[in-house]
């Protein structure tokens, strides 16, 4: 089961290797990982981690083990807390002139924008939930995908005040 975890960490390279150490020791598969400097405090970094766990009980143990790291200032399981997660992808699709308009029309409902055009390919940029990006990639696969680059999810809690129900968050993350 997918878990989206948001961490505030010390801005040290050792922080990241310790986080990955916890994951690899527990043999957790990392689906995506994004790291950026914290806007408010240059000593911190924001990490969003998406992992796939076999059992629900593993989640709380994983969170506790991450929290135990001294480099981890804060850790949240966004799948329980009501998070919102988004991802950006660049997808280069083979589009010779005869099918080009067809490819463009497929991209429209996804609000994918064309950021590069070459003789036989189009590059789309799209943002959204990871599932939306998956769906787009599936859809254009038959045309021939030349390259894909995805950021992995970035996420935070939708609304800090109210303790959102698990239902709402699963909506937000889907």
């Amino acid at each position: 089961m997918k878990k989206v975890v948001q961490l505030l960490t010390n801005n040290e390279s050792s922080a990241l290797s310790r986080i990955l150490g916890v994951l690899s020791k527990r043999q957790c598969h990392v689906e995506s990982l994004s790291v950026t400097s914290d806007v408010f405090n240059p000593d911190f970094s924001n990490v969003t981690l998406v992992t796939d766990l076999k059992r629900e009980e593993e989640a709380s143990l994983l969170i506790k083990q991450l929290d135990k790291l001294i480099d981890v200032v804060e850790v949240k399981d966004l799948t329980i807390k009501g998070g919102v997660a988004r991802e950006l992808a660049l997808v280069k699709v083979a589009s010779p002139s005869d099918i080009r308009s067809e490819v463009i029309s497929l991209a429209e409902p996804f609000r994918a924008s064309i950021i590069n055009v070459s003789r036989d390919a189009l590059t789309f940029q799209l943002t959204g939930k990871s599932e939306k990006i998956d769906a787009f990639i599936e859809l254009v696969k038959p045309y021939g995908i030349k390259e894909v680059s995805r950021t992995g999810a970035v996420a935070f809690i939708r609304n800090d005040q109210e303790d959102s129900s698990a239902k709402e968050c699963s909506l937000a993350l889907n």
Binding site: T9, S14, S17, G21, K25, E57, K64, K68, I70, E74
Partner: protein, 569 residues
């Protein structure tokens, strides 16, 4: 005014700051081994106040620091050089990590500008030690040294204790520091709960569960020893009339001669302890982490019990055993709170009769067949000739289990052993560290012939410091624990476990200037123990014991705790 004062102002370097900071932490003794990258640090040590114990191998230094920490409750401090010096301490770091011992280990590093270039004696110490430490630091600026040393000691000794590494590039140790800022610790990701900050709601549930129980058992681990909570444990056990089982590392946290004591549980635990865990309706774990050597097959572990687990480390709660009442907190505070609360004592008389009957009917036992010394007997004699008051330090193997089983520990901090990692080579240097921490106390190292050969070079330290350490080798000329498993599970194919070619341990001791003696019969053993256990001299006793003796009872891997082998028929 002319300044013709002759006094030379000695400039302060990073290394000076380091030594000052170590002293400021309250440390007076460190263990270590010099080398290129730590030359500035060793120079700063020279002639100073900090006592340095030069072991003859870095592994010896780190295990000595563990032994020191274990009996003194103070952090063990180590300095080693970069590269091979640092990699030689990894086993000890992992050992301390597993057994929650506070260590602060300073490793030399190549000069800042060379890091990452595969320079001479460079090792990625932070990378190598990340999984084996509670935390690690690399010094980036010499002026950070006081703050980082403060932080390292704080992390090592608070919460669940553990090892911390501080990696120090050589140039920064040598650098002159003009301004030394008096900085506060800055650890936003490290929150230590106040000792008294415990989960009161869960404590209440625990108190109520105890009151309602009919067949309760307390499992007491090292957490009780760390929390200095043995007396409170005794009070709680007596108040609620609960039988007590110890883990290996918890031995001594409850008096072994108490009627409520059922012995050690687990793979080589007593029948009474293991059956009680299997049959109880409430299992209250204070400061043990449900290691697999204690639980056996988890599916068969305490099948009828409500499980309560008190641990200072929340990530232990529910990790191995499903827990009904998880109590995050310091064992001492939780025990105290249980005593303060108005929880009625349950009526456990029938249950106690049953556990006491098991204890009587199925004691630990061995069979004397000829006049060869049995290792179990030797441990019992050791107990008698040290009046049960020695600090017993063991290595890993059969002798470790016999020491745990037969030396009835009545007080905490008297048993030092490598539990979680099971590190051969630990015992002898750890005993040195324990003796240095407690120079007035009787320290006995109970070692295997195999494990002693892993770190025996530290005999030099015993001689050099004239430590009154007693070394007892339970010499079966085999890697006994391996041989026992080969006998039990590999049809007696003793693959690489027989080691008849050995040094003459007596001459070996003598070559270091230490008295050595071999004993082969009860009479010799008693005579030597009578002579040596009360004097202040070091001694190495090569005690020849029966080779093929096995440790029983035994729970085979994959079996439940009640499926013990080697219990009296």
């Amino acid at each position: 005014m002319r300044n013709d004062d002759k006094t030379v102002m000695r400039v302060r370097t990073g290394a000076d700051l380091l030594i000052e900071s170590i002293l400021a932490s309250g440390t007076d003794t460190i263990f270590g081994y010099p080398g290129g990258a730590v030359l500035p640090i060793y120079d700063a040590l020279y002639g100073g106040k900090l006592k340095h114990v030069l072991t003859r191998h870095e592994q010896g230094a780190v295990h000595a620091a563990e032994g020191f920490a274990r009996v003194s409750g103070k952090p063990g401090v180590v300095i080693v050089t970069s590269g091979p010096g640092a990699t030689n301490v990894v086993t000890g770091l992992m050992d301390a990590m597993m057994d929650s011992l506070p260590l602060v280990v300073f490793t030399g590093q190549v000069a800042s500008g060379f890091i990452g270039t595969d320079a001479f004696q460079e090792a990625d110490v932070l990378g190598i030690t990340a999984p084996t430490t509670k935390h690690s630091f690399q010094i980036k600026r010499a002026s950070d040294i006081p703050r980082i040393v403060k932080e390292a000691f704080h992390i090592a000794t608070t919460g669940r204790p553990g090892p911390v590494v501080v990696d120090i590039p050589k140039d920064l140790a040598g650098q002159v520091v003009e301004q030394v800022p008096d900085e506060e610790m800055n650890l936003p990701g490290y929150r230590v709960k106040d000792d008294l900050d415990i989960d009161l709601l869960q404590v209440k549930r625990l108190g109520e569960a105890l009151s309602a129980s009919e067949r309760p058992v307390i499992l007491a681990g090292a957490g009780v020893v760390h929390a200095k909570a043995s007396e409170l444990l005794l009070e709680v056990a007596e108040k609620f009339n609960v039988p007590v089982v110890n883990t290996l590392l918890g031995l001594g946290s409850f008096p072994a001669d108490h009627p409520l004591f059922l012995g050690m549980g687990g793979m080589h635990g007593t029948y009474a302890a293991n059956v009680a865990i299997t049959e109880c309706d409430l299992l209250v774990n204070f400061g043990a982490r449900f290691d697999d050597r204690l639980t056996g097959n988890l599916a068969k572990f305490a099948p009828n019990a409500k499980v309560a687990h008190v641990d200072i480390d929340p990530s232990e709660l529910g990790k191995n055993v499903k827990t009904d009442i998880p109590v995050e907190g310091d064992a001492k505070a939780v025990l105290n709170s249980l005593l303060m609360g108005s929880y009625p004592s349950p009526d456990t008389e029938d249950w106690r009769k049953l556990t006491a009957k098991n204890k009587m009917a199925y004691p630990l036992q061995y069979k004397i067949e000829d006049n060869q010394i049995l290792p179990q007997q030797m441990v019992e004699w050791l107990h008698d000739y040290t009046k049960g008051e020695a600090i017993v330090v063991t290595d890993v193997g059969q002798h470790q289990m016999w020491a745990a089983q037969y030396y009835s520990f009545t007080k905490p901090n008297r048993f030092v052993t490598s539990g979680g990692l099971g590190t051969m080579g630990f015992g002898f240097p750890a005993a040195i560290g324990a003796q240095i921490a407690e120079p007035e106390k009787k320290v006995v190292a109970v070692l295997g012939d195999g494990g002693f050969q892993m770190t025996l070079q530290e005999l030099a330290v015993v001689k050099e410091r004239n430590l009154p350490l007693k070394v007892v080798i339970l010499n079966n000329e085999v890697l006994g624990m391996v041989r026992q498993w080969q006998e039990a599970f590999y049809e007696e194919r003793y693959s690489e476990s027989l080691i008849p070619v050995q040094p003459d341990f007596v001459k070996l001791a003598e070559s270091y200037g230490i008295k050595g003696v071999r004993v082969e019969s009860e009479q010799e053993a008693r005579q030597v123990l009578a002579e040596t256990m009360t004097n202040n001299e070091p001694i190495v006793i090569d005690c020849r014991v029966k080779k093929l003796e096995n440790v029983y009872p035994m729970v085979a891997p994959g079996k439940g705790l009640n499926e013990m082998l080697g219990v009296k028929a």
